[in-house]
């Protein structure tokens, strides 16, 4: 978190600069089946973020040494397109992307019924086309929707959401200015139906009480996005039947 400026992030009416309430998330839309070449795919627009995910597999896992006898492994690549940010990102190796890919894969392995596919691999490709704070969460949501679109069974639909702290107040879903000048960010991968958490990171400064409130906000938002996703999946099914 930056947290170093004297930037004002809350208006006098108690709302945030873009007019949102403290516990209000940015608009989210989801479309599935967007990439004809993939087995499953989704595009998630979360505020100004755009994340696309493609799913391939289950397929044979190789090289052999990555195979697990009792379950599928999930191979995630989170990647930001060079034009997705204000300053161009050089293509290629990147420590941040590697870390996000790793923990996202582990979160998805916790949600997908990987035991159904021993020795196999499921490839999940997350591409960020536009980034404006919150891409790892939009990517998680897109990955879940793409897996559902591919018909891969999951114990719940994992939703990526984040809360944070600005001007010493906990708020839901930081935008870019809030992320740059805020005090904390708590991204999570939430299973709204089971009430569980499969992905968790955090940086900044939160007291135990602030942490609890931020996590409450995350669960609330996850339920909202969950409904949007279910709707998107139904719409595609209806298109298919029509």
């Amino acid at each position: 978190m930056g947290g170093y400026g004297d930037v004002q992030l809350l208006r006098e009416d108690g709302k945030r600069l873009d007019g949102r309430a403290l516990d209000e998330m940015r608009p989210v839309s989801i479309e599935v089946g967007v990439l004809p070449a993939a087995q499953g795919s989704a595009m998630v627009t979360h505020g100004l973020n755009v994340a696309v995910a493609a799913v391939y597999g289950p397929m044979e896992a190789h090289p052999r040494k990555i195979q697990r006898q009792d379950r599928a492994v999930i191979d995630v690549r989170y990647n930001m397109a060079p034009f997705s940010t204000s300053d161009r990102i050089r293509p290629g190796f990147n420590r941040r992307s590697q870390e996000i890919s790793k923990v996202t894969a582990e979160a998805l392995e916790s949600v997908v019924l990987v035991e159904l596919y021993p020795r196999s691999k499921i490839r999940v490709e997350i591409e960020i086309l536009a980034a404006e704070a919150g891409t790892r969460c939009a990517g998680i949501t897109a990955a879940t929707a793409a897996l559902a679109d591919a018909g891969i069974p999951m114990r719940d639909l994992m939703i990526g959401v984040a809360s944070g702290k600005i001007e010493n107040i906990v708020v839901l879903d930081l935008d870019k200015a809030e992320d740059n000048y805020g005090q904390a960010d708590l991204p999570a991968g939430i299973l709204p139906n089971t009430g569980e958490i499969a992905f968790l990171q955090m940086d900044g400064d939160l007291s135990p009480d602030e942490f609890n409130l931020a996590m409450e906000y995350n669960f609330k938002a996850a339920r909202e996005i969950h409904d949007i996703m279910v709707n998107a999946l139904k719409q595609k099914q209806q298109r298919g039947e029509a």
């Binding site: 493609a54 391939y56 034009f83 997705s84 490709e125």
Partner: protein, 261 residues
Amino acid sequence: MVELVPSLLRQELGRLAAVDERLDGRGRWEGRGVTLETNCLYNAEGSAKVTIGGTIVYAGVKFEIRAPWPDRPTQGSLMCGAELRPVAHVKYEPGPPSPESIELGRVVDRGIRESGCIDMDDLCIVPGEKVWGIMIDIHVLSDQGNIFDACGLAAIAALRTAIVPAQRFDVGEDYTLKVNGTPIMASFTRVGGRFIYDPSEQEELGGDERIHITLGDEGHVHSLQKGLKGVFTPAEFAEIFEVAQQRCAELRNLVAEQEGN
């Protein structure tokens, strides 16, 4: 196993070619439906999304300020790169850029660069000190055949909508990048022994060599590339060269229409 399917596919493609037909019913020189959308990427200074059938490609333009080369103190630069990431097809693997993606980026780059549509002297800010560097990044999201034409079209369409972000770099007011022309690529693949235009995924899988032709506004050729195993005769080339003239003109009209909106 993997190779049995192409072998049957090749037979079928050969049979169809003999009676002048294609798998998806198209005529030999007929392209699939093309859509073009511009200004579709929030953080890019110019952008385009192109679909050709089930092939989907995005291109985004970014600018940077850099020092010019000592021997060309007033000239900026243009760089075009393509990434064939695993998102686009099950056949693409992670890792350093494959020869395929390097070739793709370089062929698109040459078509735009060599058409002269960007005057490098237009990119000068302070001679000998500061010039603009333009970077076009092409991102293939779904490959169902003929990504070369989709990438070429997305790149030039994105470039033609680019706004130079002078304000953000504190060197004046933003302005529209000057682009003199609309180079367009047309790609042909030998399928069942004869060349066809705009190969589909199946036609690429069961086909042979391909030829990429980039033509400028007046029908001059700016870039050629022959790829994959196979040879061709000058007569065969003359035939596809003529088809390319028509197809490129049509796509150039599509860009103009889109810009008219």
